[in-house]
Symmetry: C2
Subunit: 143 residues, 2 copies
């Protein structure tokens, strides 16, 4: 098992430019916010951080931009049992462990589980296309 490291490679800004998106001032700011995020920010959070860099940015633009990036698979929309979406700039396949006390999110990857998921789907007569695995846990304190 391994933690996923923060995705490196070309920045979101670069990848968006490559995808032929018009690079407006607002868009650059939002992409920078996502690139610099070490967490899985909610739309509201992206908005706040973007607004701190450019007062003129509107919520509508944040929503539109995040939807666009999600469609292009440049970010991943997450839904951790909350009534709003979070966004993950790490598009590599991985899962999440959510600390139910602090809300902190840890990413992980596990090959054995990947295998088993496929096998389970196959035994039920399905080809596995997507999947979602979230662990909710409490930090173990070593006394």
């Amino acid at each position: 098992m391994s933690h996923s490291s923060t995705s490196s490679g070309p920045s979101l800004i670069q990848r968006c430019a490559d995808a032929g998106l018009k690079m407006t001032g607002q868009r650059k700011i939002i992409l920078r916010v996502l690139d610099e995020a070490e967490d899985h920010p909610a739309v509201e959070t992206v908005y706040e951080r973007a607004k701190a860099l450019d007062e003129s940015i509107s919520m509508a633009t944040v929503y539109r931009t995040l939807n666009l990036l999600d469609e292009l698979h440049l970010v991943v929309r997450q839904d951790f049992n909350e009534n709003f979406s979070r966004y993950d700039k790490n598009t590599d396949h991985h899962h999440h462990l959510i600390d139910i006390e602090s809300g902190e999110v840890v990413e992980f990857q596990n090959d054995e589980i990947e295998q088993m998921k496929k096998e389970i789907a196959r035994k039920l007569g399905y080809e596995l296309i997507e999947c979602r695995l979230e662990l909710y846990g409490k930090k173990i304190r070593k006394n």
Copy 2:
């Protein structure tokens, strides 16, 4: 690995009565709808089915009843990447495979995965409290 069979045991109506809930006409109908459901109905669906049995039932009552049952752990609120909730009368621990073409939901249980989840959480320094595993797949057609 095994499919979970439709939970038997005492009916929801019985378990609610045991829990000391006032058994109004509307509540009985909603509980009957849930007891008879072979699927994972959305709130809207529960409402429609209940309304077919008693025209007077309101959406507000359906929401209030489902929230109440969820709090008492007599049903489980599910959220399959849709922008509304579904409810599952099967409160035994299990996971779901969702057919991305038909929307059909298959329940399954797998002891190996249960073990691995706990182990992964432990290795990351957490005690596993809850979890959610959803497989999204396409039916394999045997030609």
